[in-house]
């Protein structure tokens, strides 16, 4: 196999994995960063969303080789203490049910707020429709994004 040096959540790590291995499994199986979730493996559910620099990507369909030196942020690295404004809003509004999809929801929403600090309802819907939640927490996700955007104005 090949050694690759990655920057994950601000730290440099070396992984020994084939270049075609999707990042999702690099995180989960090799680095034991299990906050990033598997839901579909084909880019359909958004559970595995992480940031490459500030761009959200589906880690289940992003091979290791594609990272190309960019900084990776997973849910564990979004904030040091779980105190990112979105994380706080998600707790405050009791968004999660089973919670399994929530890292992907939060990472997707966080990237949106970087790009569009005050997104319109349509922009939120257009972005968040890419992340599935079987428990039906969509309305509260919408509120949490709105609340966070308001607080950041």
């Amino acid at each position: 196999m090949a050694e690759t040096i990655l920057t994950v959540n601000g730290s440099s790590v070396t992984v020994d994995a084939p270049p075609e291995m999707p990042l999702l499994w690099v995180f989960r199986d090799l680095l034991h960063l299990t906050g990033t979730k598997y839901g579909c493996g084909i880019g359909q559910c958004g559970s595995c969303t992480v940031h490459l620099d500030e761009t959200p990507v589906r880690s289940c369909v992003t091979p290791l080789a594609q990272v190309d030196g960019r900084a990776i942020t997973t849910i564990e690295g979004l904030s040091a203490t779980g105190a990112h404004p979105l994380q706080e809003a998600f707790v405050e509004l009791n968004v999660a049910q089973c919670g399994y999809c929530q890292p992907g929801q939060i990472m997707t929403a966080a990237a949106l707020l970087i790009r569009r600090p005050n997104p319109t309802e349509d922009e939120v819907a257009e972005t968040m429709r890419d992340v599935l939640c079987r428990c039906g927490t969509y309305l509260r996700i919408r509120e949490a994004i709105r609340l966070t955007a308001e607080r950041q104005q």
Binding site: W25, C98, R129, G136, L139
Partner: protein, 671 residues
């Protein structure tokens, strides 16, 4: 089903080595084999009988007492509640701990919650049937109240006064007519030496003085969920563990005829290929390598004749079983149909197992820990008492994890492989080897002039070659769809308003929810052209009356659900926002089935493979949801399932109001 009281509860206390007290509570015996999911229609798909054990403990609990944690108070005042039910987003950890904390008069910030391992002395650990609140409300109150009594007795002894001269404030025993106070933590050692009082001496609070029950407590795991630290079944990591994934026959009932694993074994990262009861398993250093290795397997399947099965063949069988329609002169009749529905939890089935020659340790995100422990014993060829089974968080249950096929498979795989394994089910595995909600047809017949005589002939495909199981709200879903759509049809045939017409069918408690939902929804207000409002009522398990009013628009063959108003009576509300969340969840769950349908069966197998062809509703399809509870002092009844059954009929009735078109088959489609 009426909320059952726990069998006699026994409480013992003991000291914790490091200082503190531990209450071990007997919540009624539960043998490993009598724990079948009584709350759901039995799935006939269990292929072999459960192992029989002689370990079920009945009668005198003191004869064989498992010291197990139920309530622990440490010297520093930390209070740990062990919850003998599985958490899958319904909020059971928080709610049961709130009940204990209420009667204990604890300071909520000192409460920690853990999930119990599978055990014999927790009573029935099945988490299904929306039963956790109704069956545990009394016993969890009693646990808290008993501990409070003992803490008071400890303080009274310390101060040399009578217990009647003591009271509590959150987390502290106080002297009624004095200024002395001692925190629970400082009393725990002494309290542990006190004999638990008999139930007759333990006073429960008057519900009007509740200060924790009925207030917003959020979810105890929320901070870990948002930070990614929460551990689900698929997140468990063991040293030396390998990943396993199984190639199973795509055709239901098929078996491996022969296989060639040369290419699989040559795949980088693959460490072994083994055959187990359910198929051919690939073990690898990473999930990715396991998936690649599985793709490289060459397998010839013996399909055992099941390739004849299809949706249409099953539908035909069901229709043949129906009685002819009611021949009464003014009777009308209608047939309603459901396909097979998958569960589609975002976390597919996963299980971690470490089976050795004399012990098997399992991490199974299961809704039925005791049954899981028994089948893990069977899978690893060990007696049940040599199995330890931990229950991590569940990334969506919906009834799928009442079946333990994945747990047995993991235990067997670990035993055969001779090493710790994590069993991985892909999305396709999860979708194609589900225990589906059975396909059904339901013929409703009756006369518009007599709404009390509706006849429902429901035929469910329980045993027609496709594996079936429990699915949130089980057969109440097709039953409520047929009944509530048909009541709407009768109302229109009678020229009556569907709300008024339906009202005459309901008892006062049910009517209260109907009236509340209708009022909040503005029933009767005019809507724009192409819009319609529909109403439906259902009383889940006969205990949680729930009414849904749906507002839809119909445009160019497209059905869009804009607003759902729900009113329900679930008795005393423990954690109010959780009730609202569960209804929002029920709406989303039902809406996926209503608008997107289930799976297709062709040539004995499920055709769909992932979310692209078996969609669930997305963010932009979610309607506004408003939830109203009828004020009640009745015992809590359960809310996990109540919201699901009335959703589809309310939408179908709204589509009729909007378009004049009656839709009787799920998914609802106008084209």
């Amino acid at each position: 089903m009426s909320p059952s009281m726990d069998r006699r509860t026994f409480i013992r206390s003991m000291a914790v080595g490091s200082g503190g007290m531990l209450l071990s509570v007997w919540l009624g015996s539960c043998s490993d084999t009598d724990a079948s999911p009584t709350t759901t229609t039995q799935s006939p798909t269990t292929t072999s009988p459960l192992p029989t054990t002689t370990e079920g403990i009945a009668g005198d609990p003191t004869a064989q007492w498992d010291a197990h944690l139920l309530l622990r108070i440490d010297g520093d005042g930390t209070i740990t509640v062990t919850v003998p039910k599985s958490e899958m987003g319904q909020g059971v950890k928080t709610a049961l701990a709130m009940i204990v904390a209420e009667e204990l008069d604890a300071d909520w910030s000192s409460i920690r919650v853990t999930t119990a391992d599978a055990g014999r002395t927790y009573g029935d650990q099945v988490t299904g049937g929306s039963l956790s609140m109704s069956t545990r409300f009394d016993s969890m109150r009693r646990v808290g109240a008993t501990a409070r009594h003992m803490l008071i007795a400890a303080a009274a002894a310390e101060w040399g006064i009578d217990i009647t001269d003591c009271a509590t404030e959150p987390g502290v025993v106080v002297e009624r007519n004095g200024s002395r106070r001692i925190g629970y933590g400082a009393l725990a050692d002494r309290a542990a030496t006190i004999e638990p009082p008999p139930a007759s001496e333990v006073e429960l609070k008057d519900p009007s003085s509740f200060r924790i029950i009925g207030t917003e407590m959020g979810a105890i795991d929320a901070p870990d969920i948002v930070s990614g630290a929460a551990i689900y079944g698929s997140d468990v990591v063991l040293p030396g563990m390998v990943m396993g994934t199984v190639a199973r026959s795509p055709v239901f009932g098929g078996r491996v005829a022969e296989y060639d694993d040369t290419a699989a074994l040559a795949t980088a990262g693959v460490v072994d290929v083994v055959e187990i009861s359910t198929g051919v398993a690939v073990l690898a250093e990473s999930t990715w390598a396991a998936i690649k290795g599985r793709d490289a397997l060459q397998i010839t399947w013996d399909n055992r004749g099941n390739v004849e099965l299809s949706d249409t063949s099953i539908r035909r069988t069901l229709l043949d079983r129906l009685d002819p329609a009611d021949p009464a002169p003014d009777a009308i009749s209608a047939d309603y149909t459901f396909p097979y529905f998958p569960h589609g939890a975002i976390e597919p089935l996963t299980c971690v197992a470490d089976a050795t020659a004399d012990h098997c340790e399992m991490w199974a995100a299961t809704q039925h820990p005791q049954l899981a422990r028994a089948v893990a014993g069977r899978g690893s060829s060990l007696p049940t008492d040599q199995v330890t089974l931990h229950v991590p968080l569940i990334g969506g249950g919906f009834g799928r994890r009442l079946d333990q096929d994945f747990v047995e498979e993991a235990a067997e795989l670990s035993a055969v492989a001779g090493r710790p394994i994590k069993l991985f089910w892909s999305r396709s595995d999860d979708l194609r080897h589900d225990r589906y909600h059975p396909a059904s047809v339901c013929r409703a017949s009756g006369s518009p002039t007599d709404q009390n005589e509706i006849n429902l002939d429901m035929q469910l495909a329980w045993n027609d070659g496709i594996p079936t199981g429990s699915w949130r709200s089980v057969t109440d879903v097709p039953q409520a769809f047929a009944h509530e759509c048909f009541v709407d049809e009768l109302a229109h045939a009678a020229g009556a308003d569907p709300y008024e017409y339906r009202r005459a069918l309901l008892n006062p408690r049910e009517q209260a929810t109907l009236d509340l939902a209708a009022r909040e929804a503005g029933w009767g207000n005019t809507m724009p052209p192409g819009w319609g409002r529909g109403i439906a009522h259902h009383s889940m398990w006969d205990v949680t009356p729930t009414t849904i009013v749906a507002e839809v628009s119909v445009d160019d063959g497209d059905i869009r659900v804009h607003r759902i108003v729900c009113a329900l009576d679930c008795g005393i509300v423990i954690n109010p926002d959780t009730v609202a969340a569960q209804i929002e969840g029920a709406v989303a769950f039902a809406l996926s089935a209503t608008l997107h349908g289930g799976v297709t069966i062709a040539e004995g197998a499920v055709t769909e493979s992932n979310f692209h062809d078996a969609p669930i509703i997305r963010f932009d399809e979610m309607p506004e949801v408003e939830v109203h509870t009828v004020a009640s002092v009745g015992s809590p009844t359960g809310i996990g399932e109540a919201g699901v059954p009335p959703v589809a009929p309310a939408i179908a009735n709204a589509v009729f109001a909007a378009s004049g078109i009656r839709l009787r088959d799920l998914p609802l489609t106008l084209s």
